[in-house]
């Protein structure tokens, strides 16, 4: 038996994944564009919420359309495998840039997409069934190192398992929150709807969802359980698509899970497409193995090791912060915490100075409804917004303004309470990785991860 890093496997899973991923991303970009979200989310807003450390990412005004066009074109090029390295790199950069413009549009599956793009930059997804391979026969291979395909599988597994771990908490398992709030909202659905009036249903959904996330990668990886696991993937994500406004996420996961299927499955699919397109046999069966240059291979494996160490550790950074994670959201993002909270809030800012100026801020003057909704429940955004207000009013007649917030936030069915100490002048507080002492305590304990 060869050592793991010398083992090869069919290139078909990687190639089919590249095609499906590229097409799906292209579809998402078209969908995003056609819904008018580019201007609504990235051009019209007056203020943006950059990520900590990425403040250099600026909104681009109407050039945002150019970035989206580059992103869409890159996705298509990735799908067909033309100028692959360039295309996947520009896809990663353009997509990530867009997502970094404004925190209020943060979604876990955008982060997932970015990270998959990053992985694909170093993987030979264009070695088989691509235009590049068609034009360059020294690239064309139907075998790739096994770790190339496995690293994608590993990443998807991390997503599921961490999403499952995050559900191991008392709100989710013992109180069926937030599904207890979300499911009755659908009690008028035909056929299924009446179920959502039963109080045990949210518990059933919660427990099933948790077990699903924790076990699905292993069930997909195992050949015997795979067909049933995939049916569960389709059923589970289909149901979430039906019940919750989560856009493309379910479809991305349904397609992504195909990466776990056997080599034979992918070979069959690609050969059928190939024979339908009347591709030459030597293109479909080159009988050749893709190999990295030794140094390149070594470097890439080291980079992947670093990547996965970070992926393993990063979601646990919340342990370094005091207070309740769901309340303070310190270390909440980029951790595969999906659909865990029903959080709603209200934030009324008062700006004043020592010369008798005082005003209550009209949030709609500065923020879109989406931004206001996100800002009112997330402490780091509250602070960013307070700083925007400080700078704005400093330029509009206020001398060294103070900014206070009267906030009120409800989390997972708890009664609302202030999220921020209303006596703290947020204009004087800095955003850092250090714990934010001005966040109030939830005064309740959520047990578990």
């Amino acid at each position: 038996m060869k050592p793991y890093f010398h083992r090869t496997t069919s290139a078909a899973p990687l190639a089919l994944f590249r095609i499906a991923f590229g097409l799906m991303l292209f579809g998402s970009i078209v969908r995003f564009w056609s819904k008018g979200w580019i201007s609504e989310l990235y051009i019209n807003p007056r203020f943006f919420f950059p990520f900590y450390g990425f403040e250099f990412v600026k909104p681009l005004g109407h050039n945002t359309y150019v970035v989206f066009a580059i992103c869409g074109l890159s996705a298509l090029l990735v799908a067909v495998g033309l100028f692959y390295r360039l295309a996947i790199t520009s896809l990663f950069l353009s997509f990530t840039y867009i997502e970094l413009i404004d925190k209020s549009t943060y979604l876990n599956h955008y982060y997932f997409t970015s990270m998959i793009c990053l992985l694909l930059i170093v993987l030979p997804a264009h070695a088989y069934f691509s235009v590049d391979a068609y034009r360059n026969r020294t690239l064309l291979s139907d075998q790739v190192p096994a770790w190339c395909v496995d690293s994608l599988r590993l990443f998807v597994s991390i997503l599921y398992v961490y999403a499952g771990l995050a559900k191991l908490n008392s709100d989710w398992l013992l109180h069926a929150q937030p599904l207890r709030i979300w499911l009755p909202a659908h009690n008028d659905l035909p056929i299924l709807g009446f179920l959502f009036n039963y109080s045990w249903i949210p518990y059933a959904f919660s427990w099933f969802g948790c077990l699903y996330d924790l076990s699905i990668p292993f069930l997909l990886w195992n050949r015997r359980t795979r067909p049933w696991a995939y049916a569960a993937v389709v059923g589970f994500h289909g149901l979430t698509a039906l019940l919750f406004p989560i856009g493309m996420f379910p479809y991305i996961m349904i397609v992504t899970a195909l990466i776990f299927f056997s080599d034979d499955f992918h070979i069959t699919v690609l050969r059928r497409i190939g024979s339908w397109l009347q591709m030459p046999a030597h293109f479909l069966r080159p009988h050749r193995s893709f190999t990295y240059q030794p140094i390149a291979g070594q470097t890439i494996r080291s980079l992947l090791a670093i990547f996965f160490v970070i992926q393993f550790l990063f979601p646990f950074r919340y342990l370094l912060y005091p207070g309740e994670l769901f309340w303070t959201e310190q270390g909440y993002r980029f951790s595969w915490r999906v659909m865990l909270m029903e959080k709603a809030g209200y934030a009324q800012f008062t700006v004043s100075d020592d010369r008798g100026n005082r005003t209550i801020v009209n949030n709609t003057e500065f923020l879109t409804p989406l931004q206001e909704k996100m800002m009112s429940t997330q402490p780091d955004m509250l602070l960013q917004y307070a700083h925007m207000l400080r700078d704005y009013y400093a330029q509009h007649g206020f001398h060294d303004p103070h900014v206070y917030v009267d906030s009120y936030v409800a989390l997972n069915g708890r009664l609302g309470k202030p999220l921020v100490d209303s006596t703290i002048d947020l204009a004087r507080e800095q955003d850092t990785f250090a714990p934010k002492s001005w966040i109030t305590s939830l005064d309740d304990k959520i047990y578990g991860f």
Binding site: R180, I181, W182, P184, A185, H186, N187, D188, L189, P190, I191, L192, G193, F194, N197, Y198, S199, R226, P227, W228, Y230, A231, V234, G235, G238, L239, L242, S262, D264, F265, T268, E342, K343, A344, G345, Y346, Q348, N357, R358, T359, I360, V361, N362, N363, T364, E365, P369, E372, K373, Y408, V409, A410, G413, R414, L415, G416, D444
Partner: protein, 384 residues
């Protein structure tokens, strides 16, 4: 084996898709199983039906009665302006304005489509604008700028604000050089109110009621979400801010601004209007029938069926909201009859009303909507 798994996957996928397709087909003829009894309050169709048939429609019918009566008195006054017809018109105006407070909160369906509030109750009224329109003998009533030149606040000015005595006011309609133009303006004003309300009421009685009760989803475009959004907005912006917060200065830099109260020229009416509007909001929350006074399915029963409560004390959210309503109402009742004077001499008490109402706003806007899984879609523009 390969072929086998492939086929198996296909079959399973097809079954799942079939189930999914059936469940999304929107087949309304299928028999709906009876929900468990303790969850009956979660039936949104029953709630919407009660709200439409026992609250919104009868409230509109009551308002129509008062509005029609006012229009009759307006005709009598414009035909023959004298002390009697003026007194009659004023009383009918008071009755209609008071009744209006019980329908302004229905910002859903035809009311929302026609933006009826804009044509009935935007204040402070624009005296200069009104006089411009009177002098010109024309002017549109359809633009946002014109909203403050019409409706009940404009009538307030024209009935109560033209002079310090009744004789002085009557003179503006009889002997003044622009008397005819002023009378013509009154006619246009009341005609406009009639047109807008007739359109809204006509749509409600002409089929919208069925649309309303059958749009049971909680999506932003459907009845419950629109109703709740309009309701919370009404309480926040038009009761808390409009009637109390802005005049008392609680919303701005603390400087009282009594000239911005509702019914500025009939100063002993402002507080009554605020109380009636507040009570209408409370009754609506409790699903109280306008016809019988009995409580039926409404926001309260819906919240109860969802089990929304304070987990520490066990008290239900609906009780907590009702307690806060009571506290606000008590503060309101503690004010002296003339709100204008209170703002000038006893503003702390008025600001106190605002503070209590603000607590209710948070409960409605955050606690209630989050428990119902309704998204607040309106954008508040407090502080303008």
């Amino acid at each position: 084996m390969r072929q086998f798994s492939w086929r198996k996957i296909g079959t399973i996928g097809a079954i799942v898709l079939a189930i999914w397709a059936c469940s999304t087909s929107g087949d309304t003829d299928s028999p709906t199983p009876t929900p468990p009894t303790d969850q009956a309050g979660a039936d949104r169709k029953a709630m919407l039906t009660n709200i439409a048939d026992n609250i919104i429609l009868p409230s509109y019918a009551n308002f129509k009665g008062k509005l029609d009566a006012m229009l009759t008195k307006a005709d009598a006054f414009t035909a023959k302006p004298d002390k009697t017809t003026l007194a009659d018109f004023r009383q009918a105006w008071i009755d209609a304005y008071t009744e209006w407070q019980k329908v302004e909160l229905f910002d859903v369906g035809p009311g929302e489509k026609h933006t009826i509030r804009n044509f009935f109750n935007i204040y402070p009224t624009n005296v200069t604008g009104i006089e411009d329109y009177i002098a010109a003998g024309s002017g549109t009533f359809e633009t946002p700028l014109s909203y403050s030149r019409q409706g009940f606040p404009a009538l307030d000015y024209l009935l109560n604000g033209l002079g310090t005595t009744d004789d002085a006011i009557l003179a503006r309609y009889t002997t003044a050089t622009d008397a005819a133009k002023r009378i013509a303006y009154l006619k246009r004003l009341t005609g406009q109110m009639n047109t807008i309300f007739t359109a809204v009421y006509g749509e409600w009685t002409g089929g919208y009621r069925d649309t309303f009760i059958n749009c049971t989803s909680l999506d932003a475009g459907c009845s419950t979400s629109k109703l709740v959004n309009g309701y919370v907005l009404h309480y926040e912006r038009y009761i808390r801010s409009g009637k109390i917060g802005i005049p008392s200065g609680a919303m701005t830099n603390g400087t009282a601004n009594p000239e911005t109260i509702e019914s500025l020229y009939k100063k002993d009416l402002s507080l009554t209007l605020a109380k009636v509007a507040h009570q209408a909001v409370v009754d609506f929350f409790n699903g109280k029938s306008v016809k019988t006074g009995q409580e039926g399915p409404g926001l309260k029963t819906y919240l109860n069926s969802l089990g929304a409560k304070d987990s520490r004390t066990g008290s239900s959210l609906s009780d907590i909201i009702n307690q806060q309503f009571t506290t606000s109402a008590n503060q309101l009742n503690a004010l002296k009859p003339v709100l204008y004077d209170d703002i000038k001499t006893n503003n702390t008490a008025v600001v106190q009303v605002y503070n209590e109402m603000q607590k209710a706003v948070r409960m409605l806007k955050v606690d209630m909507t989050t428990a119902m899984s309704i998204t607040i879609t309106y954008t508040d523009n407090d502080g303008d």
